[in-house]
Amino acid sequence: MDEAIIEMHHVYKTYPNQISALSDITLEIFPGEFTFIAGPSGCGKSTLFRILFCAEKPTSGEVLVHGMHITHPGFKKIYQLRRKMGIVSQDFKLLKDRTVNENVAFALEVTGHPPKEAKSKASEMLSRVGLEEREKDSILALSAGEQQRVAIARALVNLPPLILADEPTGNLDAKMTLEVMEIFTALHQKGTTILFATQYTGLIKRYSYRVIQILNGQVWNGRKMDIHKGREVKAGE
């Protein structure tokens, strides 16, 4: 079996106000997997993602991404890690004063690609997400679904082997959600590893991908929660 692309070992995250966001998370994601990180709003999905792309440090535990010990105190090359992953979020994070093509090409330009090459690669990627006709349009002229497709194109233009998508369909209606899911499915079929956070169980049920259930900052796969007692239902109870 391949080496895991993501490894988390006993990861805890407690904020200074003593709120525990993650508690003893241990998981592995293997190359080429499509994995849903499922759980209600506020369960710790976003914190988990932020730790994976080094926007936050865990309180304790070890995290390896692409074999890099990102929780090691000496780890400084965050930008090198991020060049090997594409990040997609619920709020798109697009530059409103630029065109569709410029937004996608930006990701290449700032990582040292010549502008001409960046524009041409951006066009290629935009046609893969079905936006070849909107290249020269302003971001503000696009629908929410189209904006999310631009964000996906930007995340993919560097051809990263790993995509971290944190609630990418959170702001989209059902039709647009399916359009976006088609893009992710196509990517997965081409071998890209995808970690997809969502709170919508309906969406998860449509696909037969691996699901990691997060609840109260913990992995709950195969475990049951007694909502009245506020704790896990033990075997035999």
Binding site: F53, C54, A55, I78, Y79, Q80, L81, R82, R83, I87, K93, L94, L95, F106, A107, V110, T111, G112, R154, N158
Partner: protein, 283 residues
């Protein structure tokens, strides 16, 4: 465009601060130059005791010439002194009628070697001269030279203390304006960090901005100082002009101008580094 106003304010404040510093530098430069001119003219006059036998004069000249720091020794007899006074009085030399040259003491005019023409070294020569018993009094205008060199020293000290304070102010102002610029480009920076732009790539434009602000501020300061120098020192009324021909009022030499411009750039760069350290953390 939104950052034009804070940038102009920063350049303006850097220019004012650098202008204050440059003005002090110019003043100190001119006063040092003046001190140098005066020091070059410094000579020591050693008055001989009355009644010193004339046969002792020649050996005394030789003895004085051998002292460290002495370049030329010229004997001024009472008759030479009288002739000098008559020449100085010009048309009013009749005032000296009835005065015998003998009332004027004979003296040695001692010119010093170049490296001894300053207030510290001159004292070493004077100490040696005072040890010669045939000399009654030694004069070298010490009070004037000492007072003036103290004045130059105080001015230089003020220049550097003020320079230090202005330096802190410039770094503070540049760093704060650049923080505003960085805040206005927050979204763009965040996207850059997301897609893996290197920290250097993100910071370089802000460092460049700081360098340019410092260069423009320094350049403006030099320009205004030049106008001030021309306006105040060169367009002066004719009576003062005659006086000023004896005291040249110079502008800063090219080397100092380059140092001021480089100083402005370094301060601007330092300000942008402080801003980057504060708000451009990779997250």
């Amino acid at each position: 465009m939104g950052n034009l106003f804070p940038n102009l304010i920063t350049i303006g404040i850097i220019a004012i601060s650098m202008l204050i510093f440059s003005t002090f530098t110019l003043l100190a430069f001119n006063l040092t130059n003046l001190l140098k001119i005066w020091e070059d003219k410094i000579e020591v006059i050693a008055y001989l005791k009355r009644g010193t036998p004339s046969n002792e004069v020649e050996p005394l000249i030789k003895k004085t010439r051998l002292l460290e720091g002495v370049e030329i020794v010229r004997y001024i007899s009472p008759f030479d002194a009288m002739a000098f006074m008559e020449m100085k009085l010009g048309g009013q030399k009749t005032l000296l009628q009835g005065i015998q040259p003998a009332v004027l003491p004979p003296s040695f005019e001692i010119q010093l070697k170049e490296e001894y023409r300053n207030s510290t070294k001159i004292k070493e020569v004077v100490t040696q001269l005072k040890k010669i018993p045939q000399f009654e009094e030694i004069q070298y205008g010490q009070e004037w030279v000492e007072t003036f060199s103290v004045l130059v020293h105080i001015l230089r000290l003020t220049q550097w203390i003020l320079g230090g304070l202005l330096l802190i102010a410039i770094v503070f102002i540049t760093s704060n304006t650049l923080q505003l610029t960085i805040s206005s480009r927050k979204e763009e920076i965040e996207v850059m960090q997301w897609v893996g732009a290197s920290p250097g790539f993100i910071r370089v434009p802000f460092y460049t901005e700081g360098l340019l602000q410092g260069l423009l501020g320094g350049g403006l300061a030099i320009f205004f100082l030049f106008l001030l120098h021309h306006g105040l020192f060169l367009n002066i009324p004719p009576p003062m002009e005659a006086w000023l021909t004896k005291i040249p009022v110079l502008f800063l030499p090219m080397e100092t101008i380059i140092w001021i411009l480089l100083g402005g750039m370094v301060l601007g760069f330092f300000g942008s580094s402080v801003a980057s350290m504060r708000v451009l953390k990779y997250r």
